[in-house]
């Protein structure tokens, strides 16, 4: 036996494998709560972005100004910036954090983590983007397909609670 596990891992390791005890699969209720927290976070960020845009010379395009009673045009640069930030927030938030941390802010708060199903390592960009893309495409179906994608974790009877997005991305959500 040429094994030389590091002391910490060795301390936690179960004697027969040498691996630290594996985490437990996260329950769906906790995952739903994490989604809600993330929704609040993104919503708050969007409010901040657009409030700032309105303060900085109106993030709106052509609009009616009730003060002067006239149609006025907003600053196109501010509008464009606000729109870009919106897209960035909606499309970048989850993939970025899941790829690098394995958890968004909501998941972190509720102590769940997205890991690769194969070896439990961090997902990385490919799976993280895929995992976000599947529900994002679901939005195109009556704006509600993403709910079915998230609920599809219920269809996994294996005990791993992997939704379609988890299966396609090759991930599993565990409790820390």
């Amino acid at each position: 036996m040429t094994t030389s596990p590091d002391p910490v891992a060795g301390a936690r390791a179960t004697p027969d494998t040498g691996w630290p005890p594996p985490p437990t699969v996260a329950s769906l209720g906790v995952r739903l709560l994490a989604r809600l927290v993330d929704a609040v976070v993104i919503g708050a960020a969007l409010i901040v972005v657009w409030s700032a845009a309105n303060l900085l010379g109106s993030g709106q395009g052509l609009h009616y100004d009730s003060g002067s009673g006239q149609l006025v045009d907003g600053d196109p640069l501010v509008t464009l910036t606000a729109k870009l930030l919106t897209v960035l927030l909606l499309a970048g938030y989850e993939p970025l954090l899941v790829a690098t941390q394995g958890a968004t802010i909501g998941k972190r708060m509720l102590r769940v983590r997205v890991l690769r199903r194969s070896d439990g390592s961090l997902p990385g960009w490919g799976p993280a983007v895929l995992r976000w893309l599947v529900p994002a495409l679901g939005v195109l179906i009556c704006g509600a397909g993403e709910l079915l994608v998230y609920a599809s974790a219920l269809l996994d009877g294996s005990g791993y609670n992997r939704g379609w997005h988890d299966r396609i991305a090759g991930t599993v959500v565990v409790r820390e």
């Binding site: 194969s118 390592s121 709910l147 294996s158 090759g170």
Partner: protein, 352 residues
């Protein structure tokens, strides 16, 4: 010449990823954690799995997109066959060199939750939840809307844009449908419908003209246009707006009264009497309607809305006022030809 372990494409010397499928080239530096400790660890693996294949290096790597979670993935080949995953040696190799973040040996996994409950129940739940969540979202949005509108009544909720009505405003707004209908205002004063009392009233042309003239005298117009013009400058306060609203309300009420009495005036003996009466009725109906719209506008300012000269209610008032003046011109054309013949005074538009 090396070949890709995933798709079999030939690999150029020194490349770290397959040019065709993006798979990391085994033995290259394209591992996720190219730490200095890596090569020794890789070397340590080789003796552990002598029978696993000619190439001991295909360790788990997280190169470019690797969506395939299947345990026997070419890029995640463990040193020992997947069927006997966590041998201590493999585990040690995993912790030491596979990846610093690997949490379990390939082929293993996290601790599953207790056995899944009956799958039929879960299936039903999975398909029932999305609609339920949509429903919940709609209901809560509706509740929020109702709560935000709680101060409004049903009438004002249908009125477009920036409506923060008070009871008085809503009450004045209610009759506008009958006003804009342009009818002879019979609904407001049912007891004095014209057909019911044609004869006991003035019967000669002179008497009938005098009856109309009496109404015209009474119609000494409240300074509606001046009030509206002053309010439209938007430099008056809320109190002034409240005064204007009160004044406009009384103006509208007085039109209402005049219309009711005009409806009772017989005009059968007057030349062109029907035209006269219809034109005057239209004049006052539209004037009343315009006044009501102005009231809504002024009351809004008095209640704290920002003053907007382009407010829809203000524009509606302007529209009705213009229509009233047009009908008034028609009436005067007829009146000013008839009145002198009967010894009565001519009138101007301002006197209407």
């Amino acid at each position: 010449m090396a070949f890709c372990t995933s798709c079999g494409a030939s690999l150029d010397q020194g490349h770290r990823f397959c040019g065709r499928c993006g798979t990391a080239v085994p033995g290259s530096a394209a591992t996720r954690d190219p730490s200095p400790a890596d090569p020794p660890a890789a070397a340590a693996v080789a003796p552990q799995a002598p029978g696993s294949g000619p190439d001991p290096t295909p360790r788990a790597t997280a190169g470019p997109p690797a969506p395939d979670p299947a345990p026997p993935s070419p890029r995640t080949t463990p040193p020992s066959p997947p069927t006997t995953p966590p041998s201590p040696g493999a585990a040690a190799a995993g912790t030491a060199g596979q990846s610093s973040t690997a949490r379990w040996p390939v082929g293993s996994g996290p601790v599953p939750l207790p056995p899944a409950s009956p799958s039929l129940r879960r299936t039903l739940l999975a398909f029932a939840l999305p609609p339920l969540m949509i429903l919940a979202g709609l209901v809560s949005a509706g509740l929020l809307y109702v709560m935000s509108q709680s101060r409004d009544n049903a009438v004002s909720a249908l009125v477009p844009r920036r409506v923060t009505p008070t009871p008085s405003r809503a009450a004045t707004a209610t009759p506008t449908p009958t006003a804009t209908a342009g009818g002879p205002a019979s609904a407001t004063t049912p007891p004095t419908l014209p057909t019911t009392t044609p004869t006991p009233r003035p019967s000669t042309d002179r008497q009938q003209a005098e009856a109309i003239q009496a109404l015209l005298d009474q119609a000494a117009r409240t300074p509606v246009s001046a009030t509206v013009a002053a309010l439209a400058t938007c430099n008056r306060g809320q109190a002034a707006a409240q005064d204007a609203a009160n004044l406009l309300t009384s103006a509208a009420d007085s039109r209402e009264d005049l219309l009711g009495r005009l409806a009772a005036v017989p005009v059968g003996a007057l030349p062109d009497g029907a035209t006269l009466k219809a034109a005057l009725t239209e004049t006052w109906t539209r004037a009343r309607s315009g006044d009501r719209a102005y009231v809504t506008w002024a009351q809004g300012i008095a209640d704290g809305s920002s003053c907007n000269p382009q407010d829809p209610f203000k524009l509606a008032g302007d529209w009705d006022t213009a229509a009233s003046r047009q009908a008034g011109t028609q009436f005067l054309d007829a009146w000013n030809t008839v009145a002198p013949r009967l010894g009565l005074a001519r009138r101007t538009l301002e006197a209407l």
